[in-house]
């Protein structure tokens, strides 16, 4: 019985402070934006080069 009650408790994991949550959210948004820029960049260059995108000049 006591064991079952213990299982219902919130886990004793690490609880982030508000500052840590805020900075993590900021970093996540920055990573998402960077990945978005990369996707747009590859798309735009593919459109610009057309079939020439497969040509790899040294």
């Amino acid at each position: 019985m006591a064991r079952a009650m213990a299982d219902n408790r919130e886990p004793d994991g690490i609880v982030l402070t508000e500052a840590q949550k805020k900075s993590r959210r900021e970093r996540s948004i920055a990573i998402a934006l960077a990945l978005g820029v990369l996707v747009v960049l590859f798309f735009a260059v593919t459109m610009v080069k057309g079939p020439g995108v497969l040509v790899r000049p040294m």
């Binding site: 805020k22 920055a30 960049l41 590859f42 735009a44 260059v45 790899r56």
Partner: protein
């Protein structure tokens, strides 16, 4: 009785680093100069570069420069903590760990080189990889703590961005980007030794063998003067050699005169507040000098594009 002392288990470090801390790792002021000089290298290159490819090239070069800055701060965090100029950087302040900076720098280096190679050309990508390697391994790891010639040889890394940009635009090398390389290469010693003269206590405390620490301020003043003479000649040469035109040549002559006068002033005034003021003036003017020289080249391209009949 518990075998494990729970108080002794450290909780894992949770980062509170925000985006501004990671931007600081990129050395934004150095990056802005890299972007500007690379832009000039790209713009003066012959032929037409599609704006998307031009933007991609400059972005990759900028991110590559940022990666170099982050890897530099990763390696130098011990000496950064000892110098007042650098003690506020994210690693000495405890905002970012060395491992985080290393991962960040390596990730940016990888993506900048690969993106430039895949989207623009592999010659430019390889040159960018070499620039990052030269700055991090040759300058930061090998030269900086070993020889007073650290910034002379290491200056090559800072001089390469316009060459990378030219190669990105043309796929080949020629004389013009090498002239830009030489200008930045010979500009670096007077610029950094002027800084080192009024920061020599910092460098001495950190054990960095900058020229004023190793050879003394007077020898440094002489070296500044000698390198400035070479710089002024190298910066002027492209005009008589026929690579850049008269507007650039005359600008380089006027600015070179100012640079030389300030270097002579540094050489002559060796004591007290006058010496300090002379050094600070040279340091500040050297930034304006390089900016103005490259701005003239950029301006000529813009004017030529807007009103070709003027030229």
């Amino acid at each position: 009785m518990s075998v494990v002392d729970h108080n002794a288990i450290e909780s894992p470090r949770i980062s509170e680093a925000d985006v501004a801390d990671y931007i600081a790792l990129l050395k934004p002021r150095v990056m802005s100069l890299v972007i500007f000089t690379a832009l000039v290298g790209l713009m003066i290159a012959p032929g037409h570069v599609h704006p998307v490819l031009a933007f991609t090239s400059i972005l990759c070069i900028a991110v590559g420069a940022g990666a170099s800055g982050a890897l530099n701060m990763w390696y130098e965090s011990d000496i950064d903590a000892l110098m007042s100029r650098t003690a506020n950087r994210p690693i000495p302040r405890g905002r970012i760990t060395r491992a985080e900076a290393l991962t960040f720098g390596m990730t940016l280096a990888f993506f900048s080189v690969m993106t430039l190679g895949v989207l623009v050309n592999w010659f430019a990508g390889a040159l960018l990889a070499f620039t990052i390697f030269f700055y991090v391994v040759i300058y930061t790891m090998a030269l900086k703590r070993w020889t007073a010639q650290n910034i002379v040889i290491g200056g090559a890394a800072g001089a390469l961005p316009p060459v990378v940009a030219w190669v990105a635009a043309t796929g080949s090398l020629s004389m013009e980007p090498l002239l830009l390389f030489l200008i930045i290469f010979f500009w670096t010693p007077p610029h950094f030794w002027a800084l080192a003269l009024f920061r020599s206590d910092d460098y001495a405390r950190a054990g960095v063998p900058m020229l004023p620490v190793v050879a003394g301020p007077d020898a440094t003043r002489l070296q500044i003067l000698l390198y400035t003479v070479v710089l002024v000649a190298v910066a002027f040469a492209p005009w008589p050699l026929g690579y850049f035109d008269a507007v650039y040549g005359l600008t380089s002559l006027v600015l070179g005169g100012g640079m030389l006068a300030l270097a002579i002033n540094v050489y002559r005034r060796r004591q007290g507040s006058q010496a300090l003021r002379a050094t600070r003036k040279l340091f500040a003017f050297s930034i304006l000098y390089l900016f103005a020289l490259f701005a003239v080249l950029l301006l000529e391209v813009v004017v030529h594009a807007l009103a070709p009949s003027i030229w």
